[in-house]
Symmetry: D2
Subunit: 416 residues, 4 copies
């Protein structure tokens, strides 16, 4: 009757924290030094992956592993506090084979791929040999409404031809990126059910016609793995590259997004905790006008508000994880929308306060704050803009209200 962590979770938390302390954090400077030179820091990451794999800190995100699969077997609720820890060093997720968008990709492959597709793509993803991208959002359409998307996946004999332009395809610059899972229109019949016209298809990154056009920086920040613009120009793939049935696109998109969205939220909470810790340390350390920043009541209010907001958001996140575990991602759809909006707002708010305590240093790459704040802003679009999620929540609430019309009449007081 509590979200206190189970013994098992506590054990993993200790193990993961120790790993972070002993291996990841000491590599942080070198990671950034390499990334700063435009080199993907495989050097740093691969040995850490091997070590994490050896310790069983592997595929922590994946609840449904088969016996033959490498990795732990944690529920979403158990994974949450671990993702929080990883979130503190954003690049560390890869060390534990828990990076977006591979996590989401592995999940839908696990559930919907054919044995051949699994052998070719899922297995090397699960072992961390390769990485993958997802091609969803497009620069030329208002992609928050998926029916707007314009990429086509059209049958041509026993092949499909993929044409379209995607962007914010995270990971396309990663040296190990081998697979693109691409969303597009597979049925151009105007009269078809608009939610059965799209499909996902598996495209090798080295297929002719796939071009990583550019890395799109987010608020001027170039991620080493890239959030890329990728052009698919007459890309031919055999028919068996279709994931699920033609027309399954919407259903798969929903399935894919549930856990992915909440993983971002889990990491966000960890990043906000880090920001709060940094804010407190800095406030204790710096003095202006004869006293420590920490002695100013406005800064105390920022600290207290951050603490309250983080704690409340964490509970909302844990509850969502719990419900996903118990009832499935689909049933927890409204919860997922709620935590997604809540976490993204939280991150820009808490980070903004931390930056203000740091003064101009908070603007620089010398602290993690500048990246985390701008990333928080991106979170308000990632996996759907806030407004789309609030629409989902509001409609759900209004539906309940429709069902209960008149129930509240006694609460009104007639004029005396």
């Amino acid at each position: 009757m509590d979200f206190d962590y189970s013994e098992r979770t506590e054990t993993y938390r200790r193990q993961l924290s120790d790993f972070m302390e002993a291996h990841v954090l000491p590599a942080n400077h070198r990671y950034h030094a390499l990334a700063g030179q435009g080199i993907y820091p495989l050097d740093v990451i691969e040995p850490l992956k091997a070590r994490a794999h050896a310790q069983g800190l592997w595929n922590l995100f994946m609840p449904e592993l088969e016996e033959s699969d490498p990795g732990t077997r944690l529920s979403n609720l158990e994974y949450a506090p671990l993702a929080e820890i990883m979130g503190r060093v954003p690049w560390s997720s890869e060390v534990f084979n828990c990076s977006a968008p591979d996590t989401g990709n592995m999940e839908i492959l696990k559930r919907f791929a054919t044995p051949e597709q699994k052998a070719r793509w899922l297995d090397p993803l699960m072992t961390g040999e390769i990485r993958s991208i997802v091609g969803l959002t497009e620069p030329d359409t208002a992609s928050s409404d998926l029916t707007n998307l314009a990429t086509t996946i059209l049958p041509d004999g026993d092949h499909y031809i993929v044409n379209g332009r995607k962007w914010f395809s995270t990971g396309a610059k990663h040296p190990n990126a081998k697979l693109a899972i691409v969303f597009g229109i597979s049925d151009t019949d105007e009269d078809a059910d608009p939610h059965r016209k799209h499909s996902f298809i598996l495209v090798p990154m080295d297929a002719p016609g796939v071009e990583v056009v550019r890395d799109v920086p987010i608020m001027h920040h170039h991620a080493p793995e890239g959030h890329c613009e990728v052009l698919f120009r007459n890309v031919r793939v055999p028919a068996d590259a279709m994931l699920g049935q033609p027309g399954d696109g919407f259903m798969l998109a929903q399935a894919r997004l549930g856990p992915g969205r909440i993983h971002h939220c889990m990491r966000t909470i960890g990043q906000c905790e880090l920001a709060l810790e940094l804010m407190c340390s800095r406030a204790l350390e710096r003095r202006t006008f004869g006293k420590a920043l920490a002695d100013n009541a406005n800064i105390q209010d920022w600290i207290a508000t951050s603490r309250m907001e983080i704690d409340a958001a964490r509970l909302l996140m844990l509850q969502t994880a719990f419900r996903m575990d118990r009832d499935g991602a689909r049933a927890a759809r409204v919860d997922v929308s709620a935590i997604k909006v809540t976490a993204a707002r939280l991150q820009t708010q808490v980070l903004d306060r931390a930056i203000q305590v740091f003064g101009a240093a908070g603007l620089t790459p010398d602290t993690p704050l500048s990246f985390l704040w701008t990333w928080g802003r991106a979170m308000r679009f990632l996996d759907g803009p806030d407004e789309v999620h609030m629409r989902v929540i509001a409609r759900n609430e209004l539906k309940k209200a429709k069902g209960a019309a008149g129930a509240n009449l006694w609460h009104f007081v007639p004029p005396q």
Copy 2:
């Protein structure tokens, strides 16, 4: 591993909801009609009390009942969802003998009163025969800092003489108010420990020198039971009216406030739920410029934001209740401060949105919104202003940060 309600809690929720539906809500109009005429609606309340007592819906708030005591035996965590239900009709708490400030008063009497004091005051409080007030806040001092309080409780032979002016003494206008528990300085020695100079004393409301000067309306609202200004002028009480030892005042004040504060929060959550329900119904019902209010994206955003905020606050409240049950009120002190601030802010925010959806009707007493909004504003002072609680939270956070100095160094990235 969840805050989902236990079977036992669910049973009580059903029972209480049925009671509200069957007996309380239908009496709501008559309650307000009498209160509007300045009559305390005992007529309405006493039969409901009898019925509630008979059904065992009694003293729900009190976790530590002895066998001889009337009432249920619920933990704070179990009580929370019930208080939420009661909160929807603010006057209903009395029906279940769960009204402030009697609840807090009963708790400290239970823990600290002598057998004689218990027989005289606690027993009739537990059975609902009498009601009580607490004399804490003063009009002439900045009472958020208790060391400022100026009321005196000075020994005079085998008596104490009480002198002072209190206000916001809830319940002093109630026809059954018999007992005032008064806080004041009992040790005037300048050099004494400032946290051992105050005491609580039990003063009969009919003692000579006790005068209910006036009822102080909160945002123009006169509560039927009153939030009164009470004058204590040379009130003589025997030495055995002292609660606990002389100098125990601070300790008792702390003990008293923990559960009381969280009860307010529980009711707040229920009131916000009600406001959200009303907001949704109204938005579905009213049309302007050719569509229902509910079809406007701004109103949908208000609904969604309210839902997210309420859910997060409820979890924070349940977590606090859980920790109070497990670790005691003292250990959960920072949690209590956090939920106290969170709930008060929530109430003004959610209610403000609901009012806006209702239009001018939201300003009137015809809907519960106007009372709940102004009450929410009062909640930001009740049991201590927000700022005092945020100070508690911030100091706790800063203390942790002091203990962890240097822990975050690896997160900073040296200039390349």
Copy 3:
């Protein structure tokens, strides 16, 4: 090239301030004492009116006076700082014959009434002999969309029959209220132009069928003059009681609201200034935890933010007044909407901070804060809810953008 006040304005400001200081403020306690007993304080007000009239502080709000009319001749820009001063003591507007809704009523009578209507109603309003109400908003319709209003004004031979229920008719409880200006449907033809179907009609308050049903308190506050619910049941008025032509209702409503809306804003600014002054005094005076409230950085931030917001809002208000003077109320329509929303938000924000500085005393009627805060909430509906005004502003902005499509292309930077 400045909104600094002209010499003439400064002279009036001094005169008005002196009057307030010498005559109005000293009467404030007695005014409230009488109002508190349910007596309309004519005793207090009538002698002050006579004195103000004698000093030429009369009808200050009315820019277009004829030679024979009593009163000053001030532009909106000149009136603004005077209304600010009056706003500090809300009841004082009546002393200078500047109360809502009489001001708006006088303005439309001045512009649209026949000589006979003027002689009967406008002249005694201008001299302050009688007062008037306006019947616009209705309890049973979403009145922010005027086409929803359901009151009817139907021809019956050489009379009109008025049927409907209005509320928030300010002033209906005033002992001198003699005239109701009522808005309703005068043309029931479904196919008629929806903006030419309504009219305003002049109804004597003592006409048979006019019933002041009740005073509707705003956030529990009963204004002495009332914001009343008024029932018009088969009220017969002669055809010459029609104001303007049948079907002029929308046009007159627009004409009426322009200046009235901005007067509220002017008074709001004054009320916020008062709140800021009170907040500062209290913060200097009260001490907690060893220092004055004013020494806390959070309270300093509230003070500074209030000062910035008030100053910015005042300038927006002065600019609107200037544009109304120069271009007319119709041309300044969007400006009026902007200051209306800005001022209402300002009032709740600044007052909220002031209340927090006052502690629980801020909830009581002992300070002006509780009334001003709740009144600020009502301001968000008065003369149209915020949302309707924001819609006006947004549409205007979007219209400009439509006209300028493509103008900004060079600001976008093509991917390199």
Copy 4:
């Protein structure tokens, strides 16, 4: 009696807008293409400078020009709407010789430099031959309290030795940067007046010991001219490089910051206007779920709120400019603080909304929004963090309140 622009101002606005349209905007893409390759776009800028100089659009910011000086002669009030126009294309200020920090540097050189100093540094700055930096903020001290700064400027015979580390020295990477104006401690006597211990000294950028250590990106954005970390290691300058008298540092810092701060605010307003225009165009253009974004009431609320906030801030800025012109920068000190805080907040708010309307595109460098939003965040520190400015405003307000103690007593109403 209005802030409407004078005929003269309108003429300059037209001239400047035409210039922007005809020459600056068409060069925008090439500017960014070069800057993106790490090349300072002198190629683009120098010809534009020549043209602007020839047209008399030169040194627009400088109110007090002598006859021999090149440039217009505009008051701050006249300059404001021109700076607004320049703000829309941030790099364009240089075209008109109006870039920070040269503007502030020219102003203090003009007022305080010796004829020799002027000949060497001011003249080539006024003609745009060279550029300059200012060395104020330091990475290792809480620089919002200038008494914390640790750089030393110590006499050594007829020279001074400068030692210290500065950062956020804008322009140090500019190929024409020749002069650093450095702030530091020139009097190490502990007992000296803490506001007379600092000085400004003129340091040639090519002096031995001056090292531009690195460019510090602001939120990952590298400005072509750099916001650099600059090390001064035993830099020897002759005694006549002292600006003003030893100990004048604080006075000069104040003099320097007044106009500079408000120039940023003027440009901010222009940037917010641009963001609002872009937001509107995009909202009209994009469709989701069957309608244009512009048809959603939440987006309309963002547009309306932005319009209201921008207009109010512009007026506050114009009023400050007017007061600076009339009363001097010192007298307008509190006004400058107010507009500084207001404008910085405005920029992050308006830009945040614009980004949300743009969706993920708003995160990219393809639109100007990402730079303007992150720049707005930096504005909250530039020339002093918000909190320092709010402290100035609050103290001023509290000082007034102290002088008026008791003035408001009549506003309180004694209990009836």
